[in-house]
Symmetry: C2
Subunit: 412 residues, 2 copies
Amino acid sequence: MVVIVGGGFGGLSAAIALRGAPVRILLLDRTNHHLFQPLLYQVATSQLSPADIAKPIRSILSAQENTTVSMSVVREIHPTTREVVTTGRRIKYDYLIVAGGARHSYFGKDEWEQFAPGLKSLHDAVDIRRRVLTAFEQAEKYEDAARRRSAMTFVIVGAGPTGVEMAGAISELAHTSLKSDFRRIDPTQTRVLLVEAGPRVLPTFTEDLSTSALRQLGKLDVEVLLNTRVTGMGERMVELNGEPLAAHTVIWAAGNVASPLAKQLGAETDRAGRVLVNQDLTIPGHPEVQAIGDMASVKNKKGNPVPGVAPAAMQMGRHAGRNILRQLRSEAPAPFWYKDKGSLATIGRHAGIADLRGVRFSGSPAWLAWALIHLFFLISFRNRVFVFFQWAWAYLTYGRGARLITEPPAKG
Amino acid sequence: MVVIVGGGFGGLSAAIALRGAPVRILLLDRTNHHLFQPLLYQVATSQLSPADIAKPIRSILSAQENTTVSMSVVREIHPTTREVVTTGRRIKYDYLIVAGGARHSYFGKDEWEQFAPGLKSLHDAVDIRRRVLTAFEQAEKYEDAARRRSAMTFVIVGAGPTGVEMAGAISELAHTSLKSDFRRIDPTQTRVLLVEAGPRVLPTFTEDLSTSALRQLGKLDVEVLLNTRVTGMGERMVELNGEPLAAHTVIWAAGNVASPLAKQLGAETDRAGRVLVNQDLTIPGHPEVQAIGDMASVKNKKGNPVPGVAPAAMQMGRHAGRNILRQLRSEAPAPFWYKDKGSLATIGRHAGIADLRGVRFSGSPAWLAWALIHLFFLISFRNRVFVFFQWAWAYLTYGRGARLITEPPAKG
């Protein structure tokens, strides 16, 4: 019995790599869907609907007869007795692949989460969408200019890819689709602040691409505050380098920490809580247990850490599945070497940066490359055609089809 | 100042009827979207996404310059002082149109709502979708046959149009798209019970059409229990005519009661809480106040009550708007006469009944008429093209694109 924990890019790729293998596979995930996470910010900013970027895991795997899918929350892992404990069940395994992903980290300030939600799940995205749209609805109602300004101020913390995408998309939402919908406020007066503790945006890219991204953000009216730390947070306010700023909406895109399942494996973890796996992705002392994706720390051939991105998780998943096939043939697991096919980040319509194996470009071409590659990866999704038409339509009309507040505000 | 309370079919039609009129209009709704309610059951059963059947009210009305939209909850109405009180604001009006709609009624057993949710809002639909999909996920996990059976038992209370649509759609979901997704359960063994206190289904139609609907429900494997009352309800159980039945999922489609705003108008109300309006839709003693849609009780030319359906609400809304134009010209409001263009109910793919001005038919033709008319009415929605393609695709593939559990279970 092979147990796979997590149905993200890593876990799903592992399951698919074991298609047709003479083993029973059980894939556990706390949700019922695989999520195309790179487009999650588009749900949060009303460009796409949840169903456009998610698909039930059991329908992806329905034709793979050796695999059972269960919507279950994994509570404990016991490598010594080879058991996984979910709410209500104990499951014995022969091989285990743990692909629990990452959550946002508030660097010890967990009380900030209520004020500044992060973006990892569909639930997060729908919640952020509600907050953003509700802020404009409130601004329209306020008589007081200061409160109106606060409602129209959006602070995004962290200038990694998610933060940059969110900042660009919110600014575009305000400047295009919302522009003529209000009577008392002018949405183009919206302030979008992108706050970064370090000296540049998108710091995993080269310096010239960072500089280009900064310029493109400026064109979209995003105010970028570099070398700026969040020092405090409260109800509708954030403190930047000690200075309070009134803002209804604060979004956290600043840090990641591995799933708490990493700690259960008994192996060493790094600062971000990721398991220090062997080069073959197994954990020390347990060749039958592999950890992959955002919760695993492994180095590439140059000795640099493998980044926490979807292509890396997919490569690791495929590798972990094949390692089990090797072990079934009584071979040793093989070392994993990450193949970096390049990085892309999008900033807004026609804006982005790209670094494809050293070929660096920015602006419209980078945006186009990003759009094509993301569409291509949606091929595992049945509704890629609809997503494509929806994108094309939104592109032509500057519309926002999914501009819905479907949930009542969360309590507290 | 014209204040319109509610952005459903009635309130929106009233606002549109006042386009270009020399008045300021304020439309208040507790949500940010107009909802195409006749297709709400398709969101609850994973056929459509929320964004396919809802559109922001302010974007529908963005070109209508005399109209302001505000997302606000109306708490009180004071006809004597001509004031509407929302959370945080008091608003003076010259003319008022109240179109607050209806909620489900539990006939005094409000504690049943937690066990058997009703279907009125997008939030309700997403909640019911979560419950239905989660029930199958749980059935797949249970070892015990009785618990598995309970998880795969769905009880729909009330055989009006919503109840019949829900029962048909859940049965189809189980028999088609879910069929091959599970390993331990056989979704075609799902029990769908449609419980009706009266002697026939769809009682507003003629007897022969009711009989046809009953036969078509049978073909879809829906068990219809006529003359059966719900006598009790609890956690994962329902009591039918005194007999307990274990069922994870119970859905309430049995009764409606007018919005509590009806009581605030100071006019007489009927058993269902609806305002007994004058024939011109004004309320007695207040020609400047009109009540319309599901919260108003008015008779047609034959002396029969106007039904609580979307076309009636739209006609009333248009009429109420024109009544205000008359009053602005110092004319008296005109009487409202409902034009019944017929009734349609759908039961499943290729199943339905229709009564179009006495021309009665059922089965595939009724379903086709239903589908065409509903698509036609979606013309006020920008995304009608996508909905059409989504339908066509789902029709061809028996797929369920929106089969997502996006929310954690509600507490309690």
